[in-house]
Assembly symmetry: C2
Homo-oligomer: 321 residues x 2
């Protein structure tokens, strides 16, 4: 059995683990904050330290290489991070830096692609031929797996599903466009919509969750209040489901996939999100396409990106999984 180190580099956290080639084992799962403000050298040093810690727990095993998942846009063939606003990098040779430091061959792919490929390999979309996934957190990323392969597009930037316009005259998005899915359903967008309502006088217990400091309302606080029965928080979750439903219906009409997998903190909202989401999709999508598709939360919470990054290395090096 061979093993591959999977690295999931995010704007907030780095997660690393060592994965068996059949996906049956995950050793040395370790994590630290990214702290991008310390610069690229410090972030690379932190990644390398975590990889060594993970490798130490996999001692005695044959480790063949390293798969890296990173925010993009990337040049996957040359192993470059072309630009990441979150990390502040430009044309950064991340793959080669990691290879030099660890003495192992490495591959680089987009973080959302890796997460969805991980869910395809070992998670909620296992065995499906065509999968489209969303990773919902600070932003909304997308990953597209067609015929069991990550679809990259012409210049490695396919899958920006979070920046699909669903309301052409709607909310301004950080990307400059109006009415993107991300402008309504990312974590910060859910929180912002909730706060807007509170400020407009909605009857809700939300302020009690943050001692009256509305800036501290996060999407997670909204889910918590919704779970506790707060009607207004439930409405915010419900509106999120409707907006996501329009986006997922688009995905289903365009891709006719077997599975749409939704990953990230938003899945904490559970059935309060997924029940109205599925019914909104039913209302909007073509019936045969909707019937052919399962809409499910990701199963590999916190590790999808690690599994997927390792799987990308394996696929490119060995042709499988």
């Amino acid at each position: 059995m061979r093993y591959v180190v999977g690295i999931d580099l995010g704007g907030t956290n780095i997660v690393v683990g060592t994965v068996a080639e059949d996906g049956s084992e995950l050793h040395g799962l370790v994590s630290e904050p990214t702290m991008p403000e310390q610069g690229s050298a410090a972030v690379v040093a932190r990644i390398v330290k975590l990889a060594r810690a993970s490798l130490a727990e996999a001692r005695g095993k044959t480790v063949a290489g390293v798969g890296i998942g990173s925010p993009g846009p990337l040049d996957t063939a040359r192993g470059l991070v072309l630009l990441t606003p979150n990390l502040g990098w430009t044309n950064f040779p991340l793959r080669d830096r990691i290879t030099e430091a660890l003495g192992l061959p490495a591959t680089l792919d987009n973080d959302a692609n890796c997460a969805i490929f991980g869910e395809w390999w070992r998670g909620a979309a296992r065995g499906a031929e065509h999968v489209v996934g969303l990773t919902i957190g600070t932003g909304i990323g997308g990953g597209i797996v067609l015929h069991g392969e990550i679809y990259h597009g012409t210049s490695d930037i396919a899958g920006e599903i979070g920046h699909m316009t669903i309301d052409s005259t709607g909310r301004r998005c950080k990307c400059g466009n109006y009415g993107c899915l991300e402008a309504y359903a990312s974590g910060p967008a859910i929180a912002a919509r909730a706060v807007e309502g509170v400020e407009a006088g909605a009857e809700t217990s939300l302020p009690d969750y943050v001692r009256g400091d509305l800036r501290q309302i996060t999407a997670q606080v909204v889910y918590e209040a919704a779970h506790d029965g707060d009607e207004y928080a439930r409405e915010v979750v419900h509106d999120t489901a409707k907006v996501l439903g329009a986006g997922v219906a688009n995905i289903i009409n365009i891709f006719n996939p077997q599975v749409v997998v939704i990953c990230g903190g938003v899945t904490l909202a559970g059935d309060q999100l997924f029940v109205p989401l599925r019914s909104e999709v039913k209302r909007r999508a073509f019936k045969p396409a909707a019937n052919a598709c399962r809409i499910v939360p990701g199963e590999l919470t916190g590790t999808a990106g690690v599994y997927g990054a390792a799987a990308v290395f394996m696929r490119r090096t060995w042709g499988r999984p």
Copy 2:
């Protein structure tokens, strides 16, 4: 040199031609109205008559088979038309009926897929690896060609790009959804939006083009008036461009294709459509994805579906083009 009959079956017209395997020749291009109200047997008889007329003009040549493009949804493997509201058919074995009548093997694929595959093979998207196309007429169809292959999805119904929601609380679409691209930018939708404005008192010469009978305003009448300098008609075309721009930006963000090709009557509007369309895309899409993509009108006016249907037969039978 071998030849293949390409059949483009539409709700309004049937177009048939005989295509050389290298795409360099098209013989016996013939067409007749579909007249679906006469029933499936009459339509099949008309297709067969047209195919024989086309074959007669290709006399002496080796004809290997027939490619059929049809409205869907289809079961391409079994050669069935599962359902077409336009033709009124259910589970109709179109492929085998044609094979029996002509004594030639046949393949079946979706009409929009065929048109875009035709443009990929011999038209505006020649040589591109990833192409997404729209066919804009009575409805808006979509075709997706990835890695030079038509993408069909899980159950042959991928590519319903016309039913992408771009305004989640917008105009009702015939499909039951709200705010679909088709509800704004199909031929009848363009005409309907124009008429609404006239009825609301817009200053325009449009009624003069139809002797005051507003029911006769078609999209083509709108383009004509726009060409002639009617400000209101120009505004309707411009609004169409903006709406299409939102849809095309979504396609570019999702697929990162090399080419988006736009086929159908709407291309008659020329630069009055394409100039604002491209600038709307620039405003909305991710810059590197937009820069990587050409947005072009189809080149095979009236024959894209014939070329593409024949090419589908060739690909499935000979592995190319």
